[in-house]
């Protein structure tokens, strides 16, 4: 029997002629859990996908001022809004290491990539944000890589360009601490293709910009980003 990945309740699929002939879609979450996931809806900030009425949200304006008009990050696309349910789910997924929970997001990730980055993907490469060595050993997998793998069927498009030096969790820092922290990444290879960075959560956007800045400095034409959640 098909069971919900989150609450382990049985999922009863509706039965009609369509599902009879097509087999129906394989549901991973039950109705109750699925309804608690909030997808991002319009209107959003055109640049970072924060839900706001203006085209540029205050966050992005601040970044623009910070880089004096030369923001290394072109655009960010996100799928979900951060709420308590998603927070719990992501905590269980990445901190506890419940790998299969990631597949809940697969359909939405695929849809977002197709919708926003379809044209771009012909040329671009996907670069997941890495974990530090010790954290990788602890968790056993990198959630950003998992997202990247769900985004595309072509494994060759996913390249690892960075290495993470620092070890601290971003989630435990304040906004100011995050923004003025040292760049935690080291570039391993350079690329001359457009890059789509992939990470799980966009909170202040510092991590992505740290990575984007390194890429830009080494001759990458443009850096886009996909994050699962816009905090």
């Amino acid at each position: 029997m098909n069971r919900c990945l989150w609450c382990d309740e049985a999922i009863v699929n509706q039965f009609d002629w369509l599902t009879f002939f097509t087999g129906g879609e394989h549901q991973l979450l039950c109705e109750a859990c699925l309804s608690q996931l909030e997808t991002i809806r319009q209107p959003v900030c055109k640049k970072c996908f924060k839900m706001s009425n203006s085209k540029r949200c205050t966050d992005c304006k601040r970044w623009e001022r910070f880089f004096s008009g030369d923001d290394p990050l072109e655009k960010n696309v996100s799928s979900f809004r951060y709420n308590e349910f998603l927070q719990e789910m992501i905590a269980k997924w990445k901190y506890r290491g419940d790998y299969v929970l990631g597949s809940v997001f697969e359909r939405e990730i695929k849809r977002a990539f197709k919708f926003h980055y379809h044209a771009l993907l012909k040329e671009a490469v996907i670069v997941p944000i890495p974990l530090s060595k010790s954290r990788m050993d602890e968790r056993g997998f990198n959630q950003s890589e998992a997202i990247a793998e769900m985004a595309t069927d072509d494994r060759k498009k996913i390249v690892q360009l960075f290495e993470r030096i620092d070890d601290e969790k971003q989630a435990k820092k304040t906004r100011a601490e995050r923004i003025f922290a040292k760049n935690p990444f080291k570039l391993l290879k350079t690329t001359n293709k457009t890059v789509i960075l992939v990470d799980d959560i966009y909170t202040t956007g510092t991590t992505l910009r740290h990575a984007a800045r390194l890429l830009k400095a080494s001759g990458c034409p443009a850096v886009y980003a996909y994050t699962l959640v816009r905090g």
């Binding site: 506890r96 419940d98 790998y99 299969v100 050993d137 056993g140």
Partner: protein, 510 residues
């Protein structure tokens, strides 16, 4: 022949046992920096105290690699594969889970291959196929024998005395028994003589319960009663979870880390959620107790399976129908109000409730209001405060609060309520059991909701009238249509009160 065929089907397949075998060998390999170090007896005893009777992952053992490898080479730890695989099923060694929906695989970056992991006990740290569970294999730790360890100076009532003697007997015989005592009968005190007896024999004792609130409530009381004994509480949110004390008070989840550790296993509130639903918890408590151990179950509302065992005389039991102060349980009053759900969806309090507020016997009693859902508890707070202000029952809005499972400040609010700083507490079934407030009136809004089953309703009515100087609080169930659970709960309470009466007459005849 059939036996042989069965055996053949359940044999461990070689292909699947390989990774664990390899993992074992990898862990046994000497590390370059280690040296041959012989442990003194004192050191080994210390380690035995820390690790005996547990089943731990490597990362749960706080030793350096070289130290740990030394112990492994001395065979002081025995590695066990974390999954038991047969042709038809795979089973997590730690929580005994074999549901396919709760077993999944992930690509392990350490070993560069896909591994199985258990989703059932993942909140205790992930158990994956490439990891091994370690069991202590060195000397057994001798727990001290403590005579007259009980520092509690209270006196047991005759009914409690009778139960306490039975508990003592069960502990002496290392047998099973159930103490069925109504809410407020003083279950904890009944245990003291038994625990004292066990301590005098050098036994290790565990008091397990499904609810962390109950653990937090029990811990200071047990600590007070046994001042000279090491007592430790274990629950999810606690930082330091060594588990090295002689008396352990733990949530049943925490017992997943134990393996044949306790001589006496006491399970308080055995019928509480999630114990009766989650089979792995029953498995954990069974495994945590030694093969020959006393098992004492405590409850006010045994469920069907326990009742059946009692009826079949498979489980010795002892029933205490009266509370420690000798007064009967307050009988709940059912109030039908058919505009209830409409008022609640509009975030209003039902009219019947407001009417009842005026007719209450004693207005000084605090109010404990149970609602079916967390959202409702939060939504009704403002309205309740407004109504109570209007009735001049409170002076300030801050005297109304809500407490539910996802509330971070729950402990604090419950403490405030007990100290009478809060007049009215809105809560969900989370506070249905294990908590004691001296003088409260209890109201259940929408008592016909599914979350209020018979056990929950009986427990909820048990919150009222627990103090000696105010032995009868009012209990009101507001509903819009009786459910079976509602009727059964009232019936059960009446029956218990009846039994209490006959109990009394029997006692006086004696």
């Amino acid at each position: 022949m059939v036996q042989r065929i069965k055996k053949w089907f359940h044999r461990p397949t070689r292909l699947e046992s390989q990774p664990t075998e390899r993992a074992r060998r990898r862990n046994l390999l000497p590390s370059s920096s280690s040296y041959f170090h012989r442990l003194t007896e004192e050191e080994e005893r210390k380690l035995a105290k820390r690790f005996e009777g547990k089943l731990l992952l490597r990362r749960e053992i706080p030793l350096s690699d070289s130290q740990f490898n030394d112990l492994l080479r001395h065979q002081l730890f025995t590695p066990h594969p974390s999954f038991v695989k047969t042709i038809f099923q795979t089973r997590c060694k730690r929580c005994n889970n074999d549901k396919p929906s709760l077993l999944a695989s992930f690509p392990c970056a350490k070993c560069c291959r896909t591994h199985l992991y258990c989703r059932n006990c993942i909140m205790m740290g992930r158990v994956s196929e490439c990891e091994v569970l370690y069991e202590w294999n060195g000397i057994r730790y001798q727990w001290p024998t403590l005579l007259n360890a009980c520092t509690w100076k209270g006196v047991l009532t005759p009914a409690q005395e009778k139960a306490a003697n039975l508990v003592k007997k069960a502990i002496a015989d290392k047998s099973e028994m159930l103490v069925w005592a109504v809410a407020g009968a003083g279950k904890t005190e009944i245990l003291f003589p038994g625990i004292e007896l066990a301590l005098s024999r050098g036994a290790r004792i565990c008091i397990a319960t499904p609810r962390s609130d109950v653990v937090r409530e029990l811990y200071p009381r047990i600590g007070q009663a046994f001042k000279n004994v090491e007592v430790e509480a274990l629950y999810g949110k606690k930082k330091n979870k060594d588990g090295t004390a002689q008396i352990i008070i733990a949530t049943t989840h925490q017992l997943l880390r134990f393996n044949e550790a306790f001589d006496v296993m006491i399970i308080d509130e055995i019928d509480a959620f999630p114990y009766h639903k989650d089979r792995s918890l029953a498995f954990a408590t069974n495994r945590a107790a030694k093969k020959a151990s006393a098992k004492i179950y405590l409850t006010a509302t045994p469920r069907g399976d326990l009742k059946q065992k009692i009826r079949r005389k498979q489980l010795p039991h002892c029933f205490i129908p009266i509370r420690y102060h000798g007064h009967p349980l307050p009988e709940p009053k059912l109030v039908a109000d058919f505009s209830l759900s409409k008022r609640l969806t509009n975030k209003q309090l039902p009219k019947s409730f407001i009417r009842w507020l005026d007719q209450r016997e004693r207005k000084t009693r605090q109010l404990l209001i149970f609602v079916p859902t967390i959202q409702l508890a939060e939504q009704l707070k403002v309205e309740t405060a407004a109504v109570l202000l209007l009735k001049k029952l409170i002076k300030d809005e801050s005297e109304v609060a809500f407490a539910h499972a996802e509330d971070e400040l729950r402990e604090e609010k419950v403490r405030q309520f007990r100290q009478r700083n809060i007049y009215c507490l809105l809560t969900t079934t989370i506070l249905e059991r294990g908590v004691t407030f001296p003088s409260v009136d209890v109201v259940v809004l929408q008592a016909n909701h599914d979350v209020f089953d018979e056990a929950a309703l009986v427990q909820i009515s048990g919150r009222a009238g627990r103090a000696k100087d105010d032995p009868d609080g009012e209990v009101i169930f507001i509903h819009d249509g009786k459910t079976e659970a509602l009727v059964d709960a009232v019936h059960a309470i009446k029956k218990m009160n009846l039994r209490a009466k006959t109990f009394y007459t029997k006692e006086s005849e004696r």
